[in-house]
Symmetry: C2
Subunit: 318 residues, 2 copies
């Protein structure tokens, strides 16, 4: 029997996204279960196992059809063994997740970092379709990243490759980052960073319309909307963020020379208001030849990028 | 007959370094010929062909023993076809070098960028021995680079990957670079950049011993030596260069997560005077986990790195 069914799990701090996916990428079923973080997240593999097993039964899918499980987790992963060095939001530390899930389910399991899987998903079926070199950046609460070069995800020697959010963009006097450093890209280009910069910008500008929003309710979306309406304080922030983000992407592109750059995450909903100045900054900071080879696109798969990338992980290793 | 002889050519603007190398990396013979740049460098393939042929004969090496030719050139190379998009210092533009050399010699030919080959050479037999992820940086007149990830050289979609010298480190008000941009790493961390910074630093400092050297004779070596003797103007330059170079390497390492970082080129002859502050800066700017995984080393193969990397290119593709 042909093994043309891929199981996928995208494990986050709040929910585990699950999916049953065909070899052509079609999603047969997708659903979510709660992430049980109690006792260091030890029950998660079993919860995934039961959820997948029940759905296979419900859909009358023969287990012999299943090629394996692809799984993603936010943290430092050894993709060869499925060993999780650390996944802070879930509670795993030195956790042999891949082997445990494989033993429970009887299926082979492949694991990678969730941002890397999102990049793989976009490469397979989304905005990065077919690119051999791709940089995917997720601008959400934080800034995540996945890099594909020579057709393969970069994991690095201990699973920390592609941590684009922690590239230093402000060498001196930068804001503190969750990672312990200062001046990381994440302190500027994440939703949180944009709000932080906007609060500072309001202080230095008279009459910003952002002053009408209670400080604790201000969002990155508000900042983009105010900038759209010509608000100076907001405009300055978007200018600074897109300039430094464009520089960071250009610097990465000088190293990787990608065909495609894919921008996703909540902040990317600003669309061309983000992409247009970002492309201009990229042009300014990239080598001309590097610039000419690259196209920019918004991520297409949204919340499904993780499970689709996880399915691709199975497909690629099958 | 076993094909255990690799021919290598490292083509520079002044000379072509040639070598005959055994499968274990032992150099049987190495020599140089002049680079004939006349008429767009059209005679170079023939010159290489004749030089190699004469040496094979002289050494009584049967052509059947030869696995192929590896060649490096400074410029944008398509390694799959051996096509040179552009190699400014040699005069080639859209030049089908690999195919031409292969037709002349009858051997298969593999071509890559010279800085990439130096990185491959150090990975095979030098300071980066066995590393699956490696960043090699050459600090010479300019700043060159080669990146190895997942065991393979990164070339990128149009041959500009690893152009580390053109990463922007000074976003505003940086010095002009040969590439047309401003504030590139090369404007600071190359021998030329160090001299430029030193000249500026002397102007702002009283009593620097560098003032005793005629301005047009000042070298990067002089700057390191003066700093060693406690000269303030020189010390400030070395501090700035190592801090920003360390930051750039840390930013690259956050993307690639390498096991080894290899520093070569003339400037690297400063040894620990360069490496010690560089490592400190790397520690300051890298993620802790990335930092812990990395070791720094000085390039070991010197001028042979290019031909050894070229031989490895043959070995890897054999």
């Amino acid at each position: 029997m042909e093994k043309d069914i891929f199981l996928a799990a995208d494990i986050g701090g709040t929910t585990v996204k699950l999916a049953i996916i065909k070899a052509n990428g079609e999603i047969v079923k997708k659903w979510e279960i709660r992430t049980d973080r109690e006792n260091g997240g030890e029950r998660i593999p079993e919860d995934i196992h039961h959820a997948l097993e029940a759905s296979l039964e419900e859909l009358h899918i023969d287990k012999k059809q299943v090629a394996g499980i692809g799984a993603g987790a936010p943290g430092f992963v050894d993709p060869n063994s499925g060993f999780i060095h650390e996944a802070v939001n879930i509670g795993w530390k030195n956790y042999n997740f891949g082997a445990i899930l494989s033993e429970l389910t009887g299926f082979p399991v492949w694991v990678d970092n969730d941002a890397n899987l999102a990049a793989l998903g976009e490469k397979w079926l989304g905005a990065g379709e077919g690119a051999r070199e791709l940089i995917a950046i997720t601008l959400g609460t934080g800034v995540g990243g996945g890099i594909i070069a020579n057709g393969e995800i970069l994991n690095g020697v201990n699973g920390t490759a592609g941590e684009i959010g922690h590239i230093t963009v402000v060498p001196e006097g930068g804001a503190p980052c969750n990672c312990g450093k200062t001046g990381c890209l994440e302190t500027l280009a994440s939703a949180t960073g944009i709000v932080r910069l906007a609060k500072k910008s309001i202080e230095n500008t008279h009459g910003s319309i952002l002053r009408n929003i209670p400080s604790d309710q201000l969002t990155a979306k508000d900042v983009f909307e105010a900038a759209q309406q010509g608000d100076e304080a907001a405009g300055t922030v978007i200018e600074k963020v897109t300039d430094l983000l464009g520089m960071t992407i250009a610097n990465l592109a000088i190293a990787i020379n990608p065909e495609k750059i894919v921008i996703g995450g909540g902040v990317s909903q600003a669309g061309s208001q983000l992409l247009d100045p970002l492309k201009a900054a990229y042009k300014k900071y990239a080598l001309r030849r590097t610039y000419e080879a690259t196209s920019f696109g918004l991520a297409k798969l949204g919340n499904d990028a993780g499970v689709i990338g996880a399915a691709f992980l199975v497909k690629a290793n099958q």
